[in-house]
């Protein structure tokens, strides 16, 4: 077994089961089921994540991502299945497990009327630390998350990005071995999003295992070592981002023609650079291209040679919709919303 060093725990907790039988897995979930009344939120989910890696749960609203996180963080009891996180059973060893995990989510669960430092100190004390140590840890984290200047301001004056950073800091107070992030960047502006991605990457580099849920393919692509695509409470595809993108196909190239009567000529010109036969919708020709580099130039050159006038031309990355369309044959939107299910 690889002698990977795991991050030191602040709390003197022994590690029963860690490394015994699970290999180097930080998360092992088998046959997880959970229903809310008649709604089957999880219908037998299997997942695993190695220590020090990022497992991305990708799926639309209502797919069951949040329910997975809530069961794994001991907030919900499963109806069936086994869940081991850092070797501990999420049901029977829930109390011990809570010392070793951190949870941050889309709600930015911090107290608006407290200051940033007060929030982190409170969380530290609820982990059983004494006030001076909790405060010291809070200051360390505020510095790390670039919130020192706002430390003594009430959180209600924070921007969305600052709140999310504070929420993440709160999840890191006890230096957890496994970090659960439920849609950590939903609703953030692009700059805050990028900054948060970088922070998550640093944590993983330090040895933290991360389970992350997201609706965004680019986010899963950037952060996750393994992606599990969830739909209707089931994992419908699992693998590395590259593996998954191969199944989905490459970039989408959309060409809007000056004259829709040129569509056939355009298809003929573009067919050889497309993965499959280009689709035509009126004056719009859509194709998927495996290689992004040079795709636009090549397409323009070919269309020009064929004498086809182009009004507009867009290259876009495959979206969650494309993933779903190619994996399930239906779009992501028709899933029931999780709020309704709960």
């Amino acid at each position: 077994m690889a002698s990977r060093s795991s991050p030191p725990s602040t709390l003197p907790v022994t590690r029963p089961g860690a490394g015994s039988g699970d290999g180097d897995a930080a998360i092992v979930v088998t046959g997880l089921e959970k229903s809310f009344g008649d709604v089957r939120a999880l219908a037998g989910v299997d997942l695993s994540a190695q220590r020090g890696t990022v497992l991305g749960l990708l799926g639309p609203n209502g797919a069951g991502k949040t329910t997975v996180v809530r069961v794994l963080t001991t907030l919900l009891k499963p109806d069936a299945g086994t869940i081991r996180v850092v070797g501990l059973d999420a049901v029977h060893d829930a109390a011990a497990l809570r010392h070793r995990i951190g949870l941050a989510g889309q709600y930015a669960a911090v107290d608006e009327n407290l200051t940033g430092l007060e929030n982190l100190t409170m969380v530290g004390r609820l982990y059983g630390e004494r006030r001076p140590r909790a405060k010291q840890r809070g200051q360390e984290l505020l510095e790390r998350f670039d919130l020192t200047e706002a430390a003594s301001r009430a959180v209600k004056t924070y921007s969305g990005g600052m709140r999310r950073r504070l929420d993440l800091a709160a999840a890191l107070v006890a230096k957890p071995e496994v970090l659960f992030l439920d849609e950590p960047t939903t609703g953030l502006d692009p700059r805050s999003r990028l900054a948060l991605w970088e922070t998550i990457e640093e944590l993983v580099a330090d040895g933290t295992t991360v389970l992350l849920t997201t609706q965004y393919l680019d986010e899963a692509d950037r952060l996750a070592d393994t992606i599990a695509v969830i739909d209707h409470g089931l994992v419908i595809a699992e693998g590395t981002p590259d593996h998954l993108k191969d199944r989905v196909g490459g970039e989408r190239l959309e060409v809007r023609l000056d004259d829709e009567r040129d569509a056939d000529k355009a298809v003929a010109a573009l067919e050889s650079i497309s993965d499959d036969r280009p689709a035509v919708e009126g004056a719009l020709v859509k194709l998927s291209v495996r290689r992004r580099a040079g795709a636009i130039v090549e397409a323009v050159r070919r269309l020009d040679e064929a004498g086809v006038g182009v009004d507009d031309l867009v290259l876009r990355r495959p979206t969650l919709d494309d993933v779903f369309l190619s994996l399930t044959g239906h779009a992501a939107e028709d899933a029931i919303s999780e709020e309704e299910a709960a």
Partner: protein, 254 residues
């Protein structure tokens, strides 16, 4: 047990630290009760014939019981907000004592209720309220007020976890508590009410607590009111505290 105490104190501190920063909350504890005292004393007071002569003496114990019963409203609103903003999820993912979130809230209510009592009593004394009681009786009255308020905080804790929004907590709370406080001896003698209301008022715990306060503070006949007030408070506590904790575990489990 040690964790329960320390976690409860951490949560209580959290809820008190925010008070001075939320001026609207502070107004609810100070200006609003004073306004009620003045309205009742000077608008209705002249028309109400109080047993014992002075309506202000009659009113102050009643309005203090009413006010203390509403003191737990902050708990209902605050808990509901915590559920919606995901703070309850954070607390439940921490290795803290389970009942501490509720115990800390209700403990913070005791502090704010004490503040309300001081404000109301000061107002009362300024407009002419006079004790007919020993220091011990005065303190016993304060004790009953705080105990009754604490018991009601747990009722509000349960309410805050049951309803879907702070607005709902507000309206359900008012619908439940207003009749209880008004159909009692808090503001007018029970004997002046129509028979059905009178029957309700007589068994209403508010009447018993108010009568206990009047016995202790202004020398009305005591009967067994003080003991019954304590028993009622304990009964409410014993029923609603476990219910609220049970609901807390389940709510956060949804």
């Amino acid at each position: 047990m040690r964790r329960l105490v320390s976690d409860t104190l951490v949560i209580a501190e959290r809820n008190l630290v925010r008070l001075p920063r939320a001026p609207d909350l502070l107004l609810a504890f100070t200006v609003q009760p004073v306004m009620f005292v003045l309205l009742f004393a000077y608008v209705f007071g002249g028309a109400i014939r109080a047993p014992g002569g002075s309506y202000i003496d009659y009113l102050i114990p009643g309005i203090m019981v009413q006010n203390i019963a509403f003191g737990g409203f902050v708990t209902a609103l605050g808990l509901n907000e915590d559920v919606h903003k995901g703070l309850i999820d954070r607390f439940r993912s921490l290795p803290m004592a389970r009942p501490a979130v509720l115990a800390g809230r209700t403990l913070a209510d005791v502090v704010t209720n004490t503040l309300s009592i001081i404000v109301l009593l000061t107002t009362g004394l300024i407009i002419g309220f006079t004790f007919h009681a020993s220091l011990l009786e005065i303190l016993a009255g304060v004790g009953i007020l705080l105990l009754f308020g604490y018991a009601f905080s747990w009722v509000f804790a349960l309410l805050g976890l049951l309803v879907s929004s702070p607005e709902a907590a507000n309206s359900v709370g008012f619908i439940a508590v207003f009749p209880l406080t008004f159909i009692s001896s808090a503001f007018v003698p029970v004997a002046t009410m129509p028979p059905v209301l009178r029957a309700f008022a007589k068994v209403n715990p508010f009447t018993i607590v108010v009568d206990a306060m009047r016995a202790l503070w202004i020398g009305f006949p005591a009967h067994n009111y003080p003991w019954e007030a304590v028993l009622w408070s304990l009964a409410i506590l014993v029923i609603f505290a476990p219910l609220a904790v049970w609901k807390y575990r389940r709510t956060a489990g949804q």
